[in-house]
């Protein structure tokens, strides 16, 4: 269905074009700087092709100058141009076609008249002559639609420097729709993405700087073209680069880039490092001491691959990636005030459950997205009442859940997803990893989109309504429940909450698609009515589509930009490497090219070819040597943080930090269940709390930067370090409580050392009494055929029996002897997921020996270990 309206889109296309472009001098229009060097040229320059870029080049339409929304000195230009109509009108007031040289617009920038912006050009310069000729020629505007720029050819297409201070000149050629080719180097803006690596002049002359790589970005008309600049780190490049085995395609792509830079990747990490890193990244869960011991003891050669497969099957994997998907889709109770009347937290709980079910089943990512993008409330043919019945069942029948609902309608009910503009921005953020908000007010400075593109894209969202439900029917349902409109909001809310708790049917909000009003307005005079335009691509006539969102979903799947798959691949990659192949991960724009385009394309294409199989993507990444490298740098890659030549140390995400503190201090029995039973874990939290509540673990999760899921930005999650984090792990009472918890490792040790037979006897007696009580309750409930009470009694009975078993075990335990070496080993395994070195054994063992109370010594040791950088970081 799609046709690329601008062939500049997609880096690969552009690169190909560079190499095949044969710039023939014969049919090339020379640069404006040559043509207008002398004043005797009679050519009338074009507003779009020459004058508007010149204004940009001179800085006139910058934000600090006339591009400001307030204008300057009463003169306003569109920020970054491309609003030719407005710019032309504004200029008309400042030119004099009868006496062109007296035009105010020429006198200001030449300082004939005082100009706050200073001198921008000399009288008689080619810029001046160009401007003057345009006025002399009658100051023509752009006739009709802007001319289409077919291609912008930049040579050279890639630059490799060998020393600091070397120079290269870029040449830029515009190819217009009519085949005209013009050298526009002098009208082009250039920008270095890292001026430590390379500097670029306004004329396109590049000077090399430090070793490393970056891009120079070239802007002309609506085109944005990045040119890779490389200065190798060592001279081991090309022929001299050592022949390294590339075990997987990921390694091959990474090493291709490293070979250009002369960077040798670090060695593959140890098994202990691998297990810890993998389990934290893939499942958000620190390995237990037993996990580490078992993995180290496994002598088989395929144990890493097997571990990957094993972890991909765990509930912790599903929980952690559900949390990440909830970040990107914006699941937050604060934003879900009105989506579900059942109770105040039902919105995020449903959302999380919906996502978790699909991640657990490994539903293809495009289908998950489709369930959100085209989410409908009612099933086909369902009446509003039937819909309410069905939804009410989700809350009164324990065998059903909102996760069974085909679509995640709540996405459309977010409070920050109401206006068309917010929806356009939020949609592009979630599903394309792209920031289009700039184009809301002006031409996007780093991409091809204009303000008009944004406005036409918004139209896709206009007919989607999230409402409180069918007005008549919902009122009727409320009346049947005895809830009248007279009750105020809060009273009504409570009455509805009570009704559903009592098993009644309540009215639910729903998404509806309103009919297309434009169908009628469409006419010969107004052919654009009812049209919407896919960003940077073709127009769609919404009048012929029942649900405009289906067109959006088709586009996500089929757009040649592949931003849909690419943004997901890039976000998943950044989870494993602490930065994306494109960084920031939510800024996939032409001016922010990937550090390794081949790698991103390989993974994107593979992800699509494998039917958006998320587990394929995870495997493909973590099986590579690239993922499994040590953080220890070698002589060539100490400064490299963008080419994946080694692991980069990074903080653990908030939820993972909290769970790691918990499992590191938990007794062996409960720690063993951590990967499997995730309920109650921080990675299973459905939403940041309402109203910034900071009770319980919310405090820790907030200071460690859990995503606030609020502002369409991957930066809503913070991976920064802060003083409050350090104060927390050093001295917070919550951490102290973890160390001494009843279900903690220290308590376990203390019991092993001196079995508490008396207290165990007491606990056993109490548990047995409870068993008796719950057995009775169960019988009663079964007799009454009350499912809810039956289930409850069964639960209670199970827990009481477990307590009794634990007490019996304790009674049978014999006092163990305190073995400092064993304790030090266990402490290291459960915190740093590795065995201690001899030096560490000496220090820790010595500390324990010097302590009169061995348990206090162990407590200090665990405290010290969870406060090391090695514990707090992934490496």
């Amino acid at each position: 269905m799609n046709k690329v309206s601008c062939p500049l889109y997609g880096f690969a296309t552009v690169m190909l074009m560079f190499t095949s472009a044969v710039v023939s001098a014969a049919d090339l229009v020379p640069a404006a700087s040559e043509r207008f060097a002398a004043a005797d040229n009679a050519e009338v320059p074009d507003f779009q092709k020459h004058l508007s870029p010149l204004l940009g080049k001179l800085g006139c339409n910058g934000r600090a100058c006339h591009g400001s929304f307030q204008g300057r000195g009463g003169f306003r230009l569109s920020l970054f141009g491309y609003d030719f109509k407005m710019d032309h009108e504004q200029l008309l007031d400042r030119i004099d076609t009868k006496a062109p040289a007296d035009s105010y617009a020429l006198q200001k920038p030449t300082l004939v008249e005082p100009h706050e912006g200073g001198k921008r050009m000399e009288v008689g310069s080619w810029e001046y002559n160009l401007f003057l000729n345009w006025i002399k020629g009658g100051a023509p505007s752009v006739a009709g639609d802007p001319v289409k720029l077919e291609a912008l050819e930049v040579t050279p297409s890639e630059i490799q420097f060998t020393a600091a201070g070397q120079e290269r000149q870029l040449q830029v050629v515009a190819v217009w729709a009519d085949g005209t080719r013009e050298d526009v180097t002098c009208l082009t803006r250039f920008q270095s993405n890292d001026d430590a690596i390379c500097d670029v002049t306004s004329g396109g002359l590049i000077t090399s700087g430090d070793k490393g790589d970056s891009h120079v970005v070239v802007f002309y008309d609506n085109a944005v073209v990045p040119v890779p600049i490389i200065r190798p780190v060592t001279d081991e490049i090309g022929e001299k680069y050592p022949k390294l085995a590339a075990r997987t395609p990921v390694d091959e792509h990474v090493q291709t880039k490293l070979a250009k830079l002369g960077i040798i990747p670090s060695d593959v990490c140890t098994d202990a490092e691998f297990l810890r890193r993998l389990q934290l990244d893939l499942t958000g869960t620190l390995p237990t001491a037993a996990d580490v011991e078992a993995f180290l003891a496994d002598a088989s050669s395929d144990k890493r691959a097997r571990k990957i497969d094993e972890l991909l099957q765990t509930p912790a994997y599903a929980a952690w990636w559900t949390t990440r998907l909830c970040d990107w889709t914006g699941c937050s109770d604060q934003q879900l005030q009105n989506v579900n009347p059942v109770n105040r937290n039902a919105g995020s709980a449903d959302w999380y459950a919906w996502m978790l079910k699909r991640v657990s089943e490994n539903m293809p990512y495009d289908q998950i997205a489709e369930g959100i993008v085209t989410a409908s409330s009612r099933n086909p043919g369902e009446s509003y009442r039937e819909y309410c019945e069905r939804l009410s069942n989700y809350y009164r029948d324990k065998d059903r859940s909102y996760a069974d609902q085909p679509g995640l309608v709540y996405f459309w009910g977010r409070r920050n997803f109401v206006s068309n503009e917010d929806r356009a921005i939020g949609f592009a953020y979630t599903f394309m990893g792209t920031r289009i908000q700039c184009a809301q007010c002006h031409k996007h400075p780093f991409d091809i989109w204009t303000q008009q593109d944004f406005e036409q894209f918004e139209q896709f969202f206009a007919r989607v309504k999230f409402s409180r439900g069918d007005p008549k029917e919902s009122k009727k349902i409320l009346e049947e429940l005895g809830i009248t409109g007279k009750a105020n909001g809060n009273d009504q809310r409570r009455a509805i909450e009570k009704a559903i708790a009592d098993g009644k049917t309540i009215p639910f909000p729903e998404v509806t698609i309103t009919s297309d009003n434009n169908r009628r307005r469409k006419s010969k005079d107004n052919p654009e009515a009812g049209m919407a335009k896919l960003l940077g691509e073709q127009s769609v006539d919404l009048a012929n589509i029942d649900d405009p969102r289906t067109a959006l979903m088709d586009w996500l799947r089929n757009s040649p930009t592949k931003l849909f798959a690419k943004s997901f691949v890039n976000r998943v990659w950044s989870n494993y490497f602490s930065r994306g192949i494109v960084e920031p991960t939510d800024d996939l724009s032409l001016a922010n090219p990937p550090a390794n385009a081949g790698l991103l394309d390989y993974l994107t294409d593979g992800f699509i070819a494998h039917g958006y199989d998320m587990k394929w993507l995870h495997r493909e990444i973590v099986r590579s040597d690239t993922y499994q490298r040590t953080w220890r740098p070698n002589a060539t890659n100490a400064a490299d943080e963008r080419n994946f030549s080694r692991a980069v140390v990074r903080r653990l995400p908030a939820e993972v930090t909290y769970d790691a503190l918990t499992v590191a201090t938990l007794n062996d029995e409960q720690a063993a269940k951590f990967l499997e039973s995730v309920s109650g874990r921080a990675i299973s939290e459905t939403s940041p709390p309402r109203n910034n509540a900071n009770n319980g673990r919310n405090y820790a999760l907030a200071i460690f930067g859990r995503s606030i899921r609020e502002s369409n930005c991957d930066c809503d999650r913070s991976m920064e370090a802060s003083l409050l984090q350090t104060l927390y792990t050093r001295n917070d009472r919550d951490v102290e409580l973890l160390l001494t918890a009843k279900n903690g490792w220290l308590t376990q040790l203390s019991r092993e050392l001196k079995p508490q037979s008396e207290s165990a006897e007491r606990e056993l007696a109490a548990a047995e009494a409870r068993i008796e009580r719950f057995e009775k309750a169960l019988k009663t409930a079964q007799k009454a055929d009350n499912q809810k009470l039956t289930a409850k009694a069964q639960e209670q009975l199970k827990s009481a029996r477990a307590d009794a078993a634990a007490a019996r075990r304790e009674l049978n335990t014999k006092a163990a002897k305190f073995d400092p070496q064993q304790v030090v080993t266990q402490a290291y395994l459960r915190t740093l997921s590795r065995l201690p070195t001899d030096e560490e054994r000496n220090v820790a063992g010595g500390y324990l020996a010097a302590e009169s109370d061995s348990l206090t010594g162990v407590k200090d040791l665990v405290w010290a270990l969870i406060n090391t950088k090695e514990f707090m970081l992934n490496h």
Partner: protein
């Protein structure tokens, strides 16, 4: 090194040069640097600030903007009393504040349009009208970013918690929440700083000694990673906060002289104000105190006179006089506000007043603000400003001005968007003259 571009084509690196730091890759080091350097407009009088939030939205007509001549529909039960400054009258249930009127300014006819608690609260806690796409940092986050703080004290403390979030500035500018209010004469414990469970400084030193010996995995690589270096700096800072007497003393309200402490009253709010003065005296840069209950849809007057106004009166009056007594009023900017006023027209069915942002009051003091005045005015029934309205943005600009912070300074959000500290405000010059 990551370079991010902003919407207007400026590179992140440029911000370093102009001093407006993005919250991206540079923020950790910038935080460390600013914390030790500190950029202050030397002419500014305030070096610290106390922000007092009254969530729920206190009724302006029953506190600082009474209209005794209004009809019964509007007036309410309370009568005005004279303050220390002739011509300025406030509610009869605020007698102690009346006697401190020379120290603070009442802003009347403050006006905005956001009648929901959360939105209003975000507005008055940041000075920027909320946007769905951006979370603005609260005052405390901006002030501590701009002015830093001493190394052995938390720069930004909220008692017991606060609606001021770090927003786009990032978690390193979040406040330390005490999560509790102090009680008169009793030691006060603060998470992360106070020693609990019988721990002593010696115990901490011993543990730290062990930690120093074991935290060696990255030895020799610290200088190559901003993160490793930052964690080491935070580690030293945390250690000095926990072990040095300065931080513990600052929070230990039992060390305050009883005569001084008792003036604040024994309410949670009063003692929070007392702690706020103590913290500022110790060198904490920014303190928020929050006391709720002002959402008086029903039983407005009973609640105000029996529960809400007496502790406010006593605590706030003691805060002003206490700061004066300690010589801190000139160097401490104080700002008191709820998220909105309440409907001038009484809700007779429930005996209360409902949300009303179009007309409200705020109080400001210290930091060069000349007290004893009313600035701004509401109309005859306090339904709207009489002349030009004062906006929350204006109040915010003035608050920053008192602290020597240029409210028009631009930050760049993580999405690269340039945003002024206060986007739409003007300093109220008359506050300072």
């Amino acid at each position: 090194m990551a370079v991010h571009f902003t919407c207007d084509g400026m590179k992140r690196r440029d911000f370093l040069q102009i001093g407006a730091l993005g919250a991206g890759a540079f923020s950790l080091s910038s935080f460390l640097r600013l914390a030790s350097a500190g950029q202050v407009d030397a002419a500014a009088k305030a070096k610290a600030a106390i922000f007092i939030n009254l969530p729920g939205g206190p009724s302006h007509m029953d506190t600082f903007d009474l209209k005794p001549n209004s009809s019964d529909e509007y007036r309410g039960e309370f009568s005005p009393i004279q303050t220390k400054i002739p011509g300025i009258e406030i509610c009869e249930h605020l007698p102690l504040l009346a006697s401190q009127m020379d120290k603070f300014v009442i802003l009347r006819g403050v006006s905005h349009t956001l009648a929901a608690h959360r939105l209003g609260s975000e507005y008055v806690n940041s000075g920027n009208r909320p946007l769905p796409s951006l979370e603005f940092p609260g005052y405390g986050a901006v002030v501590t970013k701009e002015l830093g703080g001493p190394s052995d004290l938390p720069p930004f403390v909220s008692i017991p918690n606060s609606n001021q979030r770090p927003g786009y500035l990032g978690v390193q500018y979040a406040p330390l929440h005490t999560n509790a209010t102090p009680s008169i004469g009793k030691p006060f414990s603060v998470r992360g700083i106070s020693l609990s469970n019988g721990m002593t400084v010696q115990d901490v030193e011993k543990r730290q000694g062990l930690l120093n010996k074991l935290d060696t995995a990255f030895a020799g690589f610290e200088s190559s990673s901003q993160l490793l270096e930052g964690l080491d700096r935070f580690s030293q800072q945390a250690y000095s906060m926990i072990t040095s007497p300065r931080a513990r003393d600052a929070f230990d309200t039992s060390k305050e002289s009883p005569a001084f402490a008792e003036k604040f009253g024994d309410s949670g709010f009063g003692q929070s104000c007392m702690l706020a003065t103590r913290l500022v005296e110790s060198g904490v840069r920014f303190v928020t105190v929050s006391t709720g209950g002002w959402d008086t849809h029903s039983n407005n007057w009973t609640n105000l006179k029996s529960k809400l106004l007496p502790p406010l009166d006593q605590g706030l009056a003691a805060l002003f006089s206490g700061l004066q007594e300690k010589g801190l009023l000139e160097s401490t900017a104080v700002f008191v506000t709820g998220e909105f006023g309440r409907t001038p027209k009484i809700n007779t069915t429930r005996g209360g007043r409902d949300h009303y942002p179009r007309c409200m009051f705020m109080l400001m003091a210290g930091g060069g603000i000349q007290g004893g005045r009313v600035i701004g005015e509401s109309n005859e029934n306090a339904t709207e400003p009489l002349n030009e309205a004062i906006s929350p943005d204006d109040a915010a600009a003035s608050f920053y001005h008192a602290l020597g912070i240029d409210h028009t300074k631009e930050y760049h959000t993580n999405t690269g968007r340039p945003v002024m500290i206060v986007r739409d405000g003007n300093v109220i010059d008359s506050l300072f003259t």
